[in-house]
């Protein structure tokens, strides 16, 4: 297969099931209801994702995105965006991505992405909090330093320097003098 043929080999298709989409003037927010992850797609990444209909090659996607955004978007940008969209599981499972240039390390990919306009290609992701995680939490260190009569009863923080196990609250446990993060 020629180099061009290999690069055109994959026809990515965007995932549609289990997603909630909120469009913004230049970006796109996508919420994955299966994994409870939210993704913010930069302008190029959003346009690339929208163009993934399972019939277009990377070069065709690049042409379409260029027309949509009114600025030249090289096929390299499409590769990088597809790689990120794939990692965020926003493409159909089993989709064969167009083969891109062989860039060995993550650092090389990042350098290439920055050179092509980092923000516009970006796919930022967060895990949506469970309801209790969005409430005021007590750090485990603070909780274990409290005397029994001062236990907060609040969920223990699952992030930070000394994270507590998920689903625990700051409470009295057994005959201990101090509070603990416990289920």
């Amino acid at each position: 297969m020629s180099k061009q043929g290999k690069q055109d080999g994959g026809r990515p298709r965007k995932r549609q099931e289990g997603l909630v989409v909120q469009e913004l003037p230049e970006e796109m927010l996508v919420y994955d209801t299966d994994r409870h992850k939210a993704h913010c797609l930069g302008p190029v990444a959003a346009a690339v994702w929208e163009a993934c209909n399972g019939r277009r090659s990377a070069a065709q996607i690049a042409a379409r995105v260029t027309a949509k955004l009114g600025q030249a978007v090289p096929v390299e940008s499409v590769w990088l965006s597809l790689r990120r969209l794939g990692r965020a599981r926003l493409l159909e499972a089993g989709t064969a991505l167009p083969a891109g240039p062989r860039l060995g390390s993550r650092r090389e990919w990042l350098k290439r992405a920055a050179a092509l306009g980092g923000f516009s290609l970006s796919v930022l992701s967060i895990t949506a909090p469970a309801a209790a995680q969005a409430a005021t939490c007590t750090p485990q260190t603070t909780c274990s330093g409290l005397q029994n009569r001062l236990c907060t009863g609040a969920p223990c923080c699952t992030t930070g320097p000394n994270p507590a196990p998920p689903g625990t609250t700051c409470k009295k446990v057994g005959n201990q003098n101090n509070c603990s993060c416990a289920p």
Partner: protein, 245 residues
């Protein structure tokens, strides 16, 4: 409740805006069995939500703390027409400044500094948003912590501030994490990133993502958002008020 003598304590911990409704049917039943007693035989304090036991403790204060936390969380999860985002909120020049953040990120301290600088008080815990993206007051007393101590409650009036009464459009979203010695040099966030940050602090992000994202979109499409590390609250508060003017 098994002991009427703790009624006052319970009433003081009810969520803001609570009203007595003499109706025989309830949506959610909470039961507080007050224990105590002297000598060797001490009964435990028990708190139930329906049939589920929430806490079993010898300390009444702990049972009440769990009750308060449970009620607040229930309101935030079940409010049908409001979106609760974990954030401090003050009013300034007819607009609201939102300070989203996790617990112990220094939200209440920054809110207190904003109040001392002349802002009006809306909340140190939740930004309560309606479908139009306006913020409503959730004015429980501020909970200020000092080191590892449990927070002490102070009324905004003690800081010379007024309580906000009317819903306000959001004028600024400021993600400010306390980092000793830092200077407030925030970076501007794009609307998409701002929405992502707000979603990370939204109580019903998982259960109602459509409503949450639509409401937050109304906030970020009108209000600028910034993010950075802050040092002393007083300096940051002055800069935030300047930015929101």
């Amino acid at each position: 409740m098994s002991d009427a003598s703790v009624l006052g304590e319970v009433a003081s911990r009810l969520p803001t805006g609570s009203q007595l409704r003499p109706r025989p049917l309830v949506d959610h039943l909470l039961s507080l069995v007050v224990g105590g007693g002297a000598g060797r035989l001490r009964r435990l304090h028990l708190l139930y939500a329906g049939a589920q036991r929430l806490v079993r403790t010898t300390e009444l204060g702990e049972a009440l703390a769990v009750l308060e936390n449970h009620l607040q969380q229930a309101v935030a999860e079940m409010a049908p027409r409001r979106l609760f985002v974990h954030a401090g909120v003050v009013g300034w020049n007819g607009k609201a400044i939102l300070v989203p953040g996790t617990s112990h990120a220094g939200k209440s301290t920054l809110v207190a500094a904003l109040l001392r600088a002349g802002a009006s008080y809306y909340s140190d815990e939740y930004a309560v948003l309606d479908r139009r993206g306006r913020v409503h007051p959730f004015p429980r007393a501020l909970q200020l912590r000092n080191g590892d101590e449990v927070g002490r409650r102070i009324a905004p009036e003690e800081l010379g501030a007024e309580r906000g009464r009317e819903p306000l459009p959001v004028g600024l979203v400021a993600l400010a994490r306390y980092d000793e010695g830092s200077r407030w040099r925030p970076a501007a966030l794009t609307p998409g990133r701002a929405l992502l940050e707000l979603l990370a602090h939204t109580v019903v992000a998982r259960s109602h993502p459509v409503t949450a994202m639509a409401t937050l979109e109304r906030v970020v499409s009108r209000a600028p958002a910034v993010k950075g590390r802050r040092g002393e609250a007083q300096e940051t508060a002055a800069r935030l008020l300047e930015a929101a003017s």
